[in-house]
Every structure is written in C-alpha cells, then in structure tokens.
Amino acid sequence: MSLELLAYCAFFLTVALTYAVIVLGLNVQWGQTGLFNVGVAGFVAVGAYASALLTSPPVEGRLGGFELPIVIGWLGAFVASGVLSALIGWMTIRLRADYLAISTFGIAVTIQLAVLNLEGVTGGPFGISLIPRPFGELAGQSLAFSLANLALLVAVVFGLYLMLQHLARSPWGRVLRAIREDEVAAEALGKSPRRFRIEAFALGGAIMGLGGAAQAHFIGFIAPENYLPMLTFQVWAMLIVGGSGNNRGAILGALLVWALWAASSAVVEALAPAGEQARAASLQTVIIGVALCAILLFRPQGLLPEPGSARRRLPFLHRWRGTPAATTGSERT
C-alpha cells in the first residue's frame, strides 16, 4: 500500500515538474522580459510533436517515426519551438506590446488546428502513441520506473534553474531587466531592446518546447486536445501564483497549482454525480479564473516576489490616467 502511494507521489511530482519546465520558460518571457505570451499551449505542442516525430516508431501513412534517441528528440523540441518563437518575436516585437499577445493567441489556435488536421504528419485527432518513455525497460516495476523518471525530471528542472539563475545575473539578464524597467534609458546606453526581447522570447519558447517534449515522453501519448487554451491558462496561473520574475517561485507555483488542480479534480470526481462531471469541471475552471484575477488584484507579486526589486512593484511605472500612451516608454513598442 505505502509503495503504491510512493509510486503515485513520484508520478504526481514528475507531471508537476514537467509543468515547472514550461513555467520556467514562461518566466524568461514574462517574468524577466515582460513579454506576454497567450499561446503557451502552441509552443508546448510544437515541442511535444517535434520530439514525438523524431523518436516514435514509424507508422503507415504518417511522416516521421525516425526512432531516434530521446535526447535527440528533446533537442529537436527545443530547437523547433525556439525557431518558431523567434519568428513570432521578429514579426511582432517591434510593434505595440499587446500585438504580441494577439499574435501568440493566434499562433496557438493555428497550431492546434494544424495538429488536428495534418493527419499525415501528426496523426490528426488520434494523436501519436508509442512515444518511447525514458527508462522504458523498467516499465514492469512501476516504483523503480516512477522514481527513475522523477530523478530525471528533477535533474532537468534543477539544471534549467541553475542555467536561468546564471543567465539572470549575467550581463544579458541585466540588460533584459533594464529594458523592462526603462526602455529609453537602456536604448540610450546602446542596447537594442528589440534584439534582446526576441532572444528572450526565443529562449523562453524553446524551454516550453522542451517541457512539452518531457511531458509527451513521460505520458507516452499525445493528442490535439492536450494543447487547448486551458493549458496556457494553467501555466499562467502557476507563474502568477508562484511569483513572476522568480525562478524558484515558478517551480513552486507549478507544484502548488498542479496539486490544487489535481486535488480539486479528485473532489469533483468524488462528489459530482456521474452525469454532471463535465459541468462540475467547468465550475472548477471558473474558480481558478476568478482566483487568477484576484491574485492580479490583491497580490500581483505572487508568493515569492522577484528577488531584489521592490521597485518593480511601485505603482506599476505607468499610470493609466494622465499619461498619453505615445509618451510612455513601454507602450511605444
């Protein structure tokens, strides 16, 4: 019994950590750079499908199935999502800040549509199955298998965390924060805000793709309905709850929100009558949506605020009243 519980805990933590990878990617875009991505699900999907195509066994009538090692798949996911993000960033980052939000929303809708309709590449509505799982040879012993996967994900998240912490303290990270806080001043010092923003957006997108690949390989099966706007929403809730700008906050937020999500799903399953499950689940989403708004209203810094920057929370820099958009720094982009 306790062994089963342990295996379940390992499973739960592993899934939560795959989310943590995605949230860390979003934190590079939003937390460090202030770029609002409403299409997280799309970038995650690109990573998941890229890796699945590279590593899964071939299937009649479908492209891909190269049976390459998992590492190559994850690398491919990182590159594919990164390139896509760079393209989107190149297209929109020179424009108004919210054009990026609209474009990312659009690309996520389009990617979802593409994975659903391009049956010859993505398997269409049936998705891709038989994605090789790390430590697949242990699949018979569920505890060893779960623990090995958990260890792998812990290593990935920890490695990413160290890399991102290092980047945030590097000259590159300092320029990013400088641009976020005062674009005009950063530009006056000779830094090109556009270039740095595109780089950060691409890096964040690449990490999201990696997270998508990790998730796909852990579950072993992907389908278009895994990448609905709901996923974007969950990832955002994780980052906002944990504290944007703080990498530890991003990981904590992923664990906490995933725990709440899983627990409330269990409650819904246990309490709602069989015919009303879908309805009860939508009530669950209402509560999470309201909670996200409430956090934005009452504790915008999240649980763990960004280290060393009380300044950022000073009345949000630009007051809506009395500041024509054309003269403030950040809205000119």
Binding site: D98, Y99, A101, W236, A280, V286, C293, L297, W320
Partner: protein
C-alpha cells in the same frame, strides 16, 4: 468569386464586424486588448435565449415565428433586453476587475492578463449553467429563396445583414455627430488633455462598455440564429475579432466593420477553396499579413 461565397462572407463579416466595433472602442479608449470580449458575445447569445424563453412562457403565444423569418416576437423583445443585460455584465466586470486595475495604475499587459482570466471564468460559468450542448433559438427550418445571380439566401440571413449595417451606421453617427462621440474620441486620442477640458472620463468608460456590450450581444444572437449557441462561440470568434480590429486600425469604427467584412470574406473563400477545417486559421493569416505589411491597419494612426 461566386455570389454565394460573397453572401456567406458578408454574413460572417457582419457578425465579426459587430463584435469588432465594440472591441476596437475598448482597445482605443481603455488601452488594452480585451480577451474577455468574446465572452460578451456568448453571454449575449445565451441571455437572448433565456429571456426569449421566459417572455414566451409568460405571454404564451409570442414564440411563434414572424413569417417569413424564424424570429419570434418574444425573441425580438428578448434581444433588446439582452443587449441591456450584456451591457450591465460588461459594466460589472469593469467595476470588479478592470477599474480597480486602472486605479492602481497597472500596465496594459497586466490588464490584458486579467481579461484572459476573466474570459476563462465567464466562459466556464456559461458551460456550467447551460452545459456545452449546443442550443437553438428556434427549430424552424428555413427554405433558402433564390436571388438574382444564382445566390440562395434565407430570409433570416437577409434580415441580419440589414440589421448589422443599421447598427454600424448608428454607432458611426453616434461617434461622429454627438457630444458623447466627440468626447469619446478625445479620450481615445489624449486622456490627459480630455480631462483638462472637463470631459468626465468615468462616464466615457461606461459608455464604451455599454456600446461594446450591446453590440457584442447583437453579434452573439446573430451567430446563434445562423449557426447555433455554444459556450465557446465567443471565444472562437475572438481571433477573427482581433484580426478585424488590427486590419481596420485600432480605434477606427468603420475600419473594424470593413476589417470584419474582409475577414469574413476571406473565411468564406478559404472554406470553399482550402476546406472548412482550416477556417479558424484564416484570421491568424490576416493578422500576420497586416502586421508584416502595414501594422497600423487600414485606417489606423501611427503610434
């Protein structure tokens, strides 16, 4: 392009245009991209449905369709009431969420994120209340009449195209010929200066939500009449709405309407040539083209 595609495009375009007019107004006056605008469309459609059933139940016979349309007297009354209710809903969300963020001086992008959360909550609430099963205003089947040029259209379709144009002309006149409209444009151009000359910004914000909510309700009811009523109908319309707003130029009401028509026509054309399953990607293609070629849109000012 055949006449039939033109008609389908006009219908979709009129619907998108109506929603986009409200969205472009909130965008230019409140200065954020409201991801919850699609939810006003869905709520408008469901409010019309519930109110028409309620009116029909109270008054008895008024649910019978008015020949040659499938629309009943109860539904017409219900739409007018629903427009008011949707406007109230928009005002309520503003009061609870957006107004507080504005007062605190939150950046535009925080407000956009809050609208994203509000959209999720409002949509799921509809799903909870009405379930995700599609609903219909009327089970009446309409026979399409042949029109010149080999086009076939139902009476409902023609009625809705006419109504959409009346609504847009009314909003255009309101904005260009009345004091309220002039004040709205002043706030959109320069809120500080508008405040200096004594324009009541809070009143303008209320007017924006009322107009936006009422038009969104109209668009939702139209879409419900032509297709079906679903909790996701507004969310699915959101990308075409943004495409129309960006194509028309943010803040331009004629631009939003024209943008809506162009997006609608492109969708109809894509359905015919590429296939219906790609319809939802058309709006994104339009956005991409506009952002690369002319980011200010057709009638937009450079910012």
């Amino acid at each position: 392009m055949s006449g039939q595609i033109l008609l389908e495009g006009l219908l979709a375009g009129a619907m998108i245009g109506l929603g986009a007019v409200g969205l472009t107004l909130t965008y230019s006056i409140l200065r954020f991209a409201n991801f919850a605008h699609g939810e006003l469309v869905s709520w408008g459609a469901y409010l019309s449905l519930s109110l028409s059933l309620a009116i029909g139940a109270v008054s008895g016979a008024s649910l019978a369709p008015l020949d040659p349309f499938s629309v009943s007297a109860a539904l017409i009354l219900a739409v007018l009431l629903a427009m008011a209710c949707t406007a109230l809903l928009a005002l309520l969300v503003d009061r609870l969420l957006f107004a507080r963020l504005r007062r605190r001086g939150a950046t535009a992008i925080i407000v956009v994120m809050a609208s994203f959360g509000a959209s999720m909550a409002l949509r799921s609430l509809l799903e909870f209340l009405y379930t995700s099963k599609p609903a219909y205003y009327s089970r009446e089947l309409q026979i399409a009449m042949p029109l010149p040029g080999g086009i076939r259209a139902t009476p409902d379709q023609l009625l809705l195209i006419g109504l959409a144009f009346v609504a847009v002309i009314a909003v255009h006149l309101l904005l260009t010929r009345t004091d309220l409209g002039r004040a709205m444009r002043a706030v959109s151009e320069n809120p500080a200066l508008a405040g200096v000359v004594g324009i009541d910004t809070a009143k303008i914000v209320r007017a924006v939500w009322i107009i936006g909510g009422a038009l969104a309700c109209t668009a939702g009811t139209m879409s419900g009449l032509l297709v079906q009523i679903r909790p996701y109908m507004g969310f699915d319309l959101l990308l075409p709405l943004f495409a129309a707003v960006i194509l028309g130029g943010i803040g331009s009401v004629p631009g939003a309407m024209l943008g809506g028509l162009i997006v609608g026509l492109c969708e109809a054309l894509a359905v015919q040539t590429i296939g219906a399953e790609w319809r939802a990607a058309v709006a994104f293609a339009v956005i991409t083209v506009v952002l690369v070629l002319r980011p200010t849109g057709l009638f937009g000012r450079a910012t």
